[in-house]
């Protein structure tokens, strides 16, 4: 049975075999949707009783859907600074199975359940070289499991990206 569980995990991982082209086609918008499961750490500094600032460092699996998506998914890493009064500023790196990366800048409300974040894609490497675009998502939940450790799930992830051209 454990062999079945491991095989299921392996099959789930390997199931979709088709590989995306070497370079993202130029000047075509690629719309994508998806979800992101993230876990990591949050260090919080209290500035009085009503004001908190946090540094977050989270990463996890981002899975995309849509006919013109960038790929099946990425490992998405984010570092950010979140403040009760001024919201979130962050940077994200998405890495695919070949090690090619997409870079983006994040801003939005503080990192708690229900809050919305927007991102601006600023570039990439490999097949994502020269990409630009935008996206947004909402935290379905952000929970603290142990002190300083958080896990969240972002849903409603929607965006578009293209290689070449200017920022949207």
């Amino acid at each position: 049975m454990i062999a079945l569980a491991l095989a299921l995990a392996g099959l789930a991982a390997c199931g979709e075999g088709s590989r995306p082209p070497e370079l993202l086609p130029a000047d075509t918008w690629h719309a994508f949707e998806g979800s992101w499961n993230a876990s990591g750490t949050r260090h919080t500094l209290r500035l009085g009783s009503q004001h908190r600032a946090s540094v977050i460092d989270v990463s996890g699996s981002m899975l995309l859907t849509g006919d013109s998506r960038l790929g099946i998914g990425f490992r998405a890493e984010v570092i950010g600074f979140s403040d009760d009064q001024h919201g979130l500023v962050g940077r994200a790196v998405w890495t695919d199975e070949r090690g090619d990366q997409v870079f983006s800048e994040l801003k939005g409300e503080k990192v708690v359940t229900g809050n919305r974040i927007t991102g601006t894609i600023t570039g990439g490497t490999g097949r994502y070289d020269g990409v630009a675009g935008e996206y947004g998502f909402q935290w379905q939940y952000v929970l603290e499991a142990e002190e300083g450790t958080i896990q969240g799930r972002a849903i409603g992830l929607k965006g578009r990206v293209r290689r070449g051209g200017k920022q949207p």
Binding site: P20, N37, L63, A145
Partner: protein, 471 residues
């Protein structure tokens, strides 16, 4: 010089494990995963399979695995070794050491004689007393590892009082039976009460995102029928799966009462141990309200037992099994956690769940529940699985028409009872595992069959009951 068939078989099994690891490692990284996540899965799968095949003991497999992932640059050293400073892992180790004081002081024997005098007519009676005790104290213990720390010394004393020793091939069976009943009891009692494990309140927060609000009373009503049925049958099922070697001991209660009388009043060490335990239990119960670390409370108790010489440094130095357990648990805890952090768990869960889209909702419900339980083979922490997969499975199921309250409760209860599926499936198991009464292969076999039993009860009895109470 020719190799014996046994050593040749061992060699072949080891070669098979290395071949498996290399095959996964060098297979193309699946789209959507990164190299480190895929390579870590290769090593983790190899470690678990090697134990199942008997190629390596768990300790050997674990230390080889952690060395491999650090030396190949798959994981940073700090992340690979992070389990050694994890509070849950440390709590297991300290609780095991504290349990030795209960046995050594004679307090455990006194408690076990009391239990035997009331329930000791058969191993079944003893097992029911363990399950009942656990079920009654469970709502007060938000940490089921701490609860294991309370239950284990009692079970150990019961086994030892009956002459059961891990190194006696036949007599160990009674101890093994009681140990596994204790482990499985912790799993099922955690499903009965919302407050019996820290996993449950976290899960209810996720359920709330799907419009299912769950409080203490609603949880208890929903859990009552399937959980109590599972508890009632558990000692019988485990007895069938792992016969304890003795069936009836009609004279045991009388002998226990006579021996209790001959023990006289409590000794100094018993009183110190009882007092230290009472303070620890109070600290564990009130940890949430007082903001205490349950691990620090256990360390405090151990310190008192050492300072009062109930336990000596010599006693600690004899606990080689504890070191073994600490090493493999810390490694597996870290590797499983990193599989989650590198996105592998969420990826697999989401990919598997999304493939059920063309099924009817009852089929989706059953498939999601079975998959959710099976995937616990990859997790060393119940909390990690709830955080990584509960929302994913709920999203897919609710989208396919499974009633949200039904699926929420079914997955939340599974998040407790699946902990017994592997010896490392919940940190509370490890204290019992470290006693040495059961082999790793027995633990995996019993874990699988007992989890299948729980799953069957919750599917056949729990589903109609949940549909009735959540209508």
């Amino acid at each position: 010089m020719s190799a014996s068939p046994a050593s040749l078989s061992l060699l072949l099994r080891r070669i098979a494990v290395f071949a498996l690891v290399l095959a996964i490692w060098f297979a193309p990284t699946p789209a959507g995963l990164t190299g480190p996540a895929w390579h870590l899965f290769a090593v983790f799968a190899g470690a678990i399979v090697s134990v199942l095949l008997g190629a390596f003991p768990l300790l050997t497999a674990s230390v080889l695995a952690v060395a491999a992932v650090v030396l190949t640059g798959t994981l940073e050293m700090s992340k690979a070794f992070s389990g050694f400073a994890n509070p849950s892992v440390l709590l297991v180790v300290v609780a095991f050491l504290v349990a030795q004081a209960v046995v050594k002081s004679g307090l455990g024997r006194r408690i076990s004689l009391l239990i035997v005098s009331a329930f000791g007519g058969s191993p079944l009676g003893l097992a029911y007393s363990v399950v009942l005790t656990d079920a009654v104290i469970a709502p007060a213990f938000p940490s089921n590892t701490a609860r294991g720390g309370v239950l284990f010394p009692v079970v150990l004393s019961l086994a030892q009082s009956a002459g059961s020793r891990p190194d006696d091939a036949e007599k160990r069976r009674l101890g093994g039976y009681l140990m596994f009943c204790g482990m499985a009891s912790l799993a099922i009692s955690s499903a009965l009460w919302l407050t019996a494990t820290s996993v449950n309140p976290i899960g209810t927060q996720i359920a709330a995102q799907f419009g299912v609000e769950i409080g203490f009373g609603r949880w208890l009503i929903a859990a009552s029928v399937p959980t109590l049925a599972a508890m009632l049958l558990l000692p019988l099922v485990v007895r069938r799966l792992f016969p304890p070697g003795v069936s009836e001991t009609p004279d045991a209660p009388r002998a226990a009462r006579a021996e209790l009388a001959s023990m006289g009043s409590m000794s100094r060490d018993e009183i110190v141990t009882a007092a230290a335990f009472a303070v620890m239990v109070t600290g564990w119960i009130l940890a949430g309200q007082l903001g205490l670390s349950v691990t620090a409370v256990a360390f405090g108790g151990l310190g008192v037992l050492l300072a009062t010489s109930v336990l000596t440094l010599d006693d600690i130095s004899k606990q080689g099994d504890t070191l073994t357990t600490f090493l493999w648990l810390a490694v597996l805890f870290a590797l499983s956690g990193q599989l989650n952090e590198l996105g592998f768990m969420g990826y697999v869960g989401e990919r598997l769940a999304s493939r059920l889209e063309k099924l009817s909702w009852p089929a989706v419900y059953v498939a999601l529940l079975v998959l959710y339980v099976l995937l616990h083979y990859l997790f060393v922490s119940q909390t990690s699985q709830v955080l990584a997969l509960l929302a994913v499975f709920l999203t897919v199921g609710v989208k396919q028409g499974v009633p949200a309250p039904l699926l929420c409760f079914a997955l939340l209860f599974a998040s407790s009872y699946f902990s017994v599926i592997t010896p490392q499936g919940g940190s509370q198991n490890i204290i019992f595992v470290a006693s040495g009464y059961l082999t790793q292969r027995e633990l995996y076999r019993l874990g699988l069959l007992t989890t299948a039993f729980f799953l069957t009860v919750f599917l056949l009895l729990g589903t109609p009951w949940l549909l009735f109470v959540t209508r």
